[in-house]
Subunit: 411 residues, 2 copies
């Protein structure tokens, strides 16, 4: 009796480790799995047998070792289940249905009206859109929903995004009620971005920062391979760091000198329009117009972007000295101004940091494109169900027949 | 064969969890141990039997449950082994020998000459001093050495403390060579402080910051119960945050506007002496003199400490918005100026942070006194051997007879 309980407990950990490893590396032999996870060969065999039996793994071939022994190669079964990713981007919502390994099988997109409250029904409807093809197939199942949100969750778990005019939308509660069998996991956009960047690339980072600068500014933080969530999930709020404590720039939060009041996209446009003597309306100028004019040598655009780059660089130098990351990744609207902003940011980081803090530090712009938050949301869902013993234990029952998955492509 | 390997692997985790729990809470019943650790009763029994047999635990009594069943109470065996803590404080080195539960049994202290290189021999000699009584008893053994250091370790693992004139002392290597059987663990002073504060108090914190402000300034960071070490252990370097980027104050690092250039103790004295028209030499004024004169209403002292408190508060507001801690603990020389500095720091934190970030935040001054780093160093050693499978596996063989430990008090 005691013995069997024990076995379940251990097996959970083994399963989790093997699934995470195969999600990242795919196609590995038994020996490679033992090496990467640090599990002993007996535990690996136990886990592989269990996962094969549940339909979560496939044998995808064989390879020959140096000693000419044949070794089986294992991979995740891509059709073992589905995930739904939701990206509450701000001016639109993106939805994706992915298979077990994160390949997008179906997309949906809904535009949002500027500064209108977020209606949970819109999100529920979108999830129904991307998932209805599976329901039609009859045999598949959604394992979890991952949601990437801007702003923050308040103490009641309601979504607040001041910059978007969202004042407490009960999105988590509404999705749980609408889809009772599907676990829902929510994470802020800076955190879904860093998950996507640190976990899907060729290299896995354990200590990383992801700066997202658009309508707002936030910093996703990965410490020792884990998302930093703090006491209440309110981490990475560097948009309200008073980087220039004596500056006059007024922030949405009511403070002055906040990074966001200087370096968010609307504030970049504002400073540019002001510097040009307010000849244009800020609503008529796009952030990319400011970038383009700076490229063409416009002095006002160049001066504003220099100030912006220096404010961002100063803030990043602080985060770097505090957390000693391996890599800093820049995302959001900055990607479109890599040529203009990044050199200033790098220069300011070097100037403001201790030399030892930047010695082996990489800094680069995100390369994951528009799907980054969507991919992060799905990764969040995958990782989260592995961390939930109940979800893990039921995983893999009734897995989809292979053809049902590959036929579901509706975008 | 495979079975027995597995058993050892599991038992390690159980042992670790039970030992950590009993270190913090002491005197618990089997059921309480299961509740706090989340282990199932069979695993707890397995671990308790093993630890009792090795002499690491004692049965310390019985208690009666509501249903009048008698329940055994367990505690760590205080004499199961010794730890040595070393605090490289800067102007002196403190040494302590503690028993298994961290009670100090023997102390030693060596003064250091100002700004002279640190000689590993001095440290080795001090360790010999506190440990020789055990050697005389013949049956005891030191399980590990924990060292708390100021400054940082360079890429070669040598200790660098610019403010103290220590330029690369190979302390870890020297101790390992001098005491081959004793594992040596090193951690920076801000980290040993936060370990001591977060782990020995009545409450255990999972997300905490410890600000140490003396000759230098650093921030110890605990995220989700773990020390944040970053890529190379260079975390918490907020002493070099350019909190006032336009300030003229020159820092030891060569930069200007660094927090340390404003708020370290020597710089507080410097500013005060300057404000008083340099009528005294900075070497003749102690930091406590500045505090005392501010208490007596001296305008120069008050103005300097107001600036210092605001700089510290601004820096802390950044760390709070970034990491969303439950608690911020202030340590170092600030303890002696709680009445003057803390109100200004609190006011600035409130003024500069998002309201949600400070909503449930506690801020207080450290109450652990002069022994804080020494206690943290010993805690570091205890936790570290539990994390090292080899150390854990050999733990408890040849444990000391009870009387031998209690007789070793040489200070």
């Amino acid at each position: 009796m005691a013995k069997s309980k024990t076995t379940v407990k251990i097996a959970d950990q083994w399963l989790r480790q093997v699934l995470l490893l195969l999600y990242q590396r795919r196609h590995l032999t038994r020996i490679e799995i033992a090496q990467f996870t640090g599990l002993n060969p007996a535990s690996v065999s136990h886990a592989l047998t269990h996962l094969l039996r549940r339909g979560l793994l496939l044998k995808t071939g064989e390879t020959q070792s140096e000693s000419r022994r044949r070794r089986e190669v294992f991979d995740l079964n891509p059709e073992a289940g589905y995930f739904i990713g939701v990206d509450l981007e701000g001016d639109r919502i993106r939805f994706a249905l992915t298979n077990f390994v994160g390949d997008i099988r179906c997309r949906w997109e809904v535009p949002l009206e500027f500064r209108q409250p977020l209606a949970p029904e819109t999100v529920i409807e979108g999830i129904r859109m991307v998932s209805r093809e599976i329901a039609a197939a009859g045999s598949g199942r959604v394992l979890a929903i991952g949601v990437s949100y801007p702003g923050m969750l308040d103490a009641q778990g309601n979504l607040v995004a001041v910059n978007l005019g969202w004042q407490g939308c009960p999105i988590g509660e509404a999705l749980a009620a609408a889809f009772p069998g599907w676990p829902v996991f929510l994470e802020s956009d800076k955190d879904t971005c860093i998950l996507a960047e640190s976990w899907r690339g060729a290299q896995t980072y354990r200590n990383a920062l992801f700066l997202i600068a658009e309508g707002g500014i936030g910093l996703g933080i990965l410490v020792d391979g884990r998302l930093v969530r703090g006491m209440r999930g309110l981490t990475g709020e560097i948009g309200h760091w008073k980087v220039l404590p004596d500056a006059a720039d007024l922030c949405n939060c009511g403070g002055r000198g906040c990074l966001e009041a200087i370096a968010s996209s609307p504030n970049i446009v504002r400073q540019y329009v002001d510097a040009e003597g307010k000849r244009e309306s800020p609503r008529a100028v796009r952030i990319t117009d400011v970038f383009e004019r700076a490229r063409q040598g416009n002095p006002a655009a160049r001066a504003v972007l220099d100030r912006v780059g220096r404010a961002i660089g100063l803030a990043l130098s602080h985060a770097i000295c505090l957390l000693n990351p391996e890599i800093v990744i820049l995302g959001g609207d900055m990607i479109a101004a890599e040529d203009i902003l990044v050199p200033v940011i790098l220069d300011e980081i070097q100037r403001r940091s201790l030399p030892v803090s930047t010695e082996r530090l990489s800094i680069r712009v995100s390369s994951l494109g528009l799907d980054i938050r969507l991919r992060g949301a799905v990764l969040l869902a995958f990782r989260s169900i592995l961390e939930t013993p109940e979800s893990l234990r039921t995983l893999g029952v009734n897995s989809l027949p292979r053809h049902a998955g590959t036929s579901v492509v509706c975008s």
